[in-house]
């Protein structure tokens, strides 16, 4: 029996030792572990860190990337177990708060990162913990919801980028008559339904509606929102989305557009680089969501992608802050934007890529990507409700009014102004 006990204890001890060794060790002084979900940007970050090392040759940064879907889980598990990185990329809004709320991140302010507060307010908002109003990350990129179109197809069919919704329908009709799918979009992948709404309908829904939602004056049964949804439903009924759109998932939509089978794609500015990668010969341009009548303000939907943060428990906070100061510099913003083709929110950054320049121009007249920005903090999130609601509506199983009512009802479970 004793032998059994001793052997058991020894085995357990060996197992414990093995599992302890499998954890990465904490970084030593002068070393920073950097975590991200962007493995594809590894080479770019090697360049950025080289640049940073010109000023701070004593800091060695190691780049570790994780699968995007699991990144939030991996990060918060590591942080909860005090095994987190020294510096890391964090997402924005609700997903950001999941990491910031338990106190895992170091507070950033004007004194430890000078110039931080000069960043645009909407970008900072995505990295601000609502509970204490403090900032915990340096925002790195914004994404824009708009309509991407194939310029060659447009020229061939003889249509111009539309300004109003009626013109959009007219253009779609001509494209369809020419045997081209007007919009590559499908609805099988849930989140694509949310991008459809923002990319196509922002100008109709309008900034005032967003302000009214935030102040609690309006909810999603509002005429502005419901009517806009109705027009989206008409677009689908007229067969201007991809054929059998309810079964077309995100990768299929991307293929339909990049292969030239479809003329337009309602989506995010983050699509531009992958489209070009899968078809380098593709000629594209972008336009903002059409307005209902000429003279209305034309809007794109914007959201913050994420930011860089320092672990509050890092042994190397000082070096981490040095890196944050670099990330917040105009010099970095420029390098980041022009290397990765992303829109840096840092003021004064100039873009060399003409498409990026164009998106930056469209951004001057924008509203937020509403559900992500305001209603991704609790369950059921506004995004989940909008996605499944629009999916159902476009399948013809709910009216726009019912969709608006369902969204309002879902959000009302935690949002006081909607409780009646």
């Amino acid at each position: 029996m004793k032998a059994l006990k001793t052997t058991a204890i020894k085995t357990l001890a060996a197992l414990a030792a093995a599992s302890a060794l499998s954890w990465p060790l904490a970084a030593a002084a002068g070393e920073l572990r950097f975590w991200t979900w962007r493995n594809e940007d590894k080479a770019a970050y090697a360049e950025f860190f080289k640049d940073f090392n010109k000023q701070h040759p004593d800091v060695k940064i190691t780049f570790e990337a994780f699968e995007p879907q699991n990144y939030p889980t991996v990060l918060s598990t590591a942080m909860a177990g005090d095994k987190g990185p020294d510096v890391m990329m964090v997402r924005a809004y609700g997903a950001f708060e999941a990491v910031a709320r338990p106190g895992y991140l170091l507070e950033l302010n004007e004194s430890n990162v000078p110039g931080l507060t000069k960043l645009p307010e909407p970008a900072l908002k995505g990295q601000t913990l609502r509970a204490d109003g403090k900032i915990y990350a340096v925002p790195f990129a914004t994404q824009t919801m708009l309509i991407i179109y194939n310029t060659e197809i447009f020229a061939r069919v003889g249509v111009k980028p539309p300004e109003t919704w009626d013109e959009l329908l007219e253009v779609s009709k001509k494209l369809k008559a020419a045997g081209i799918i007007p919009f590559a979009n499908g609805t099988a992948t849930a989140w694509q339904n949310e991008t459809l709404v923002s990319a196509l309908l922002s100008s109709q829904i309008g900034k005032q509606f967003e302000a009214d939602i935030v102040s609690g004056k309006a909810d999603f049964t509002d005429k502005r929102f419901v009517d806009a949804l109705g027009r989206l439903q008409d677009l689908a009924k007229a067969d201007y989305l991809s054929p059998s759109f309810s079964g077309i998932d995100y990768p299929s939509s991307q293929q339909l557009f990049s292969s030239g089978a479809a003329a337009m794609f309602a989506g995010g500015s983050f699509e531009l680089a992958p489209f070009l990668k899968s078809n380098p010969a593709l000629k594209m341009d972008v336009f903002a969501s059409p307005v209902l009548k000429k003279g209305d303000e034309r809007l794109v939907g914007i959201f913050l992608d994420g930011g860089y943060a320092v672990n509050a428990k890092s042994a190397n906070k000082e070096d981490g802050l040095k890196l944050m100061r670099y990330f917040a510099s105009k010099e970095y913003g420029e390098k980041f934007a022009n290397t990765l083709g992303n829109l840096s929110p840092i003021p004064g950054v100039t873009f060399t890529d003409p498409m990026l320049k164009k998106v930056a121009d469209l951004n001057k007249s924008s509203m937020s990507y509403m559900m992500a920005v305001h209603f991704r903090y609790q369950e059921p999130s506004g995004s989940v409700l909008l996605q499944s609601g629009v999916q159902k509506m476009l399948a013809g199983k709910a009216t726009p009014a019912e969709t608006g009512a369902d969204i309002t009802k879902g959000i009302a479970t935690y949002y006081a102004p909607f409780k009646k």
């Binding site: 085995t11 099988a188 309810s246 299929s252 991704r376 369950e379 999130s381 995004s383 399948a395």
Partner: protein, 309 residues
């Protein structure tokens, strides 16, 4: 004498060395996680940070209160549908296939391998394969239907709320039908041939043979197939996750408990909120339901085996 004493000691060490590693492994990776999920379910969580003790609140929420309860019950009803459907087509068809194979009809050697082949494929491969087959534009399935003059029934199978759950259930049956087939076949082959021969001489019909002789004698195989299918159907996750996504697209019509548990506990792209309390409560309830029902059902089925044999 000394040798007599030494032998048991050596044997003891030997036995210990064999038992302790798997025991430690089970304790660390099975018992401990289950126990910790039990504990987690009684707390409020901020992401992965544990806050206050809330007693049975998380359980009550997922079973009774908005916004969780309707989703839980919808997902549960889908699990039930999947279970019943698979019971009929996967196990039922598996039994028929096993009987056909046991009859050694021409080509049975080839078919024995062919039927079992999908079982060895990984779920990821099966899911991607069938997603391509069922694709509304490029998919083989609709193309074949049109070819044979059934063009009017082609539809985006995975995109419609009426067909999506059935489509992935059938894919599951295609993937796994070889397993009950193999188990039933082994059961049928264990029946002494003289019993079957004697009944044939007595002139029983094929149907009587299956119903009154073969079916009762493969009761132990049925127990295995039924209980494993039950456990599988209520823990179903990989196939729907890969084919329709975490949200149970379209609009929750393919949502099952496994998917709901995962997105509640770990969050997803569109909500980012990790809620370990409600997630653990769901996991514990699923575990209890599967454990209790399968235990009682196994006992009943075992009794049936004895009655029938």
């Amino acid at each position: 004498m000394a040798a007599d004493l030494e032998w048991p000691t050596g044997r003891k060490i030997w036995v210990t060395a064999l038992i302790v590693p798997p025991l430690a492994f089970m304790a660390t990776f099975v018992v401990l996680p289950i126990l910790s999920a039990f504990v987690y379910a009684f707390y409020e969580w901020q992401g992965l940070k544990r806050e206050g003790f809330v007693g049975l609140k998380n359980f009550a929420d997922v079973l009774l209160h908005e916004p969780w309860a309707p989703v839980t019950w919808r997902a549960f009803s889908h699990n039930v549908m999947v279970f019943v459907t698979l019971m009929i087509i996967q196990n039922g068809f598996g039994f028929l296939l096993a009987y056909a194979l046991a009859r050694q009809l021409p080509g049975y050697r080839f078919h024995r391998v062919a039927v079992f082949l999908p079982v060895i494929l990984s779920t990821v491969i099966v899911a991607l394969l069938w997603k391509q087959f069922l694709h509304p534009v490029f998919g083989l399935f609709n193309k074949v239907l049109s070819q044979f003059g059934f063009g009017m029934v082609t539809t985006p199978w995975l995109g419609l709320s009426e067909t999506a759950l059935w489509a992935i259930t059938l894919v599951n049956a295609w993937h796994w039908v070889g397993f009950p087939t193999l188990v039933f076949l082994a059961g049928i082959q264990r029946i002494p041939p003289d019993i079957i021969e004697a009944s044939r001489i007595d002139g029983v019909s094929e149907w009587q043979l299956v119903r009154t002789i073969i079916w009762p004698l493969v009761a132990p195989s049925a127990t295995v197939c039924f209980v494993l299918l039950f456990i599988g159907a209520f823990n179903w996750f990989e196939l729907p996750y890969l084919m329709v996504g975490l949200e149970g697209s379209p609009y929750g019509s393919t949502d099952v408990l496994g998917l709901y548990f995962y997105r509640t506990a770990f969050g997803n792209q569109s909500s980012g909120n990790q809620d370990f309390g409600h997630g653990s409560a769901l996991a514990v309830l699923m575990f209890l339901f599967v454990a209790v029902v399968s235990t009682f059902w196994t006992i009943r089925l075992r009794r049936r085996e004895i009655e029938l044999s």
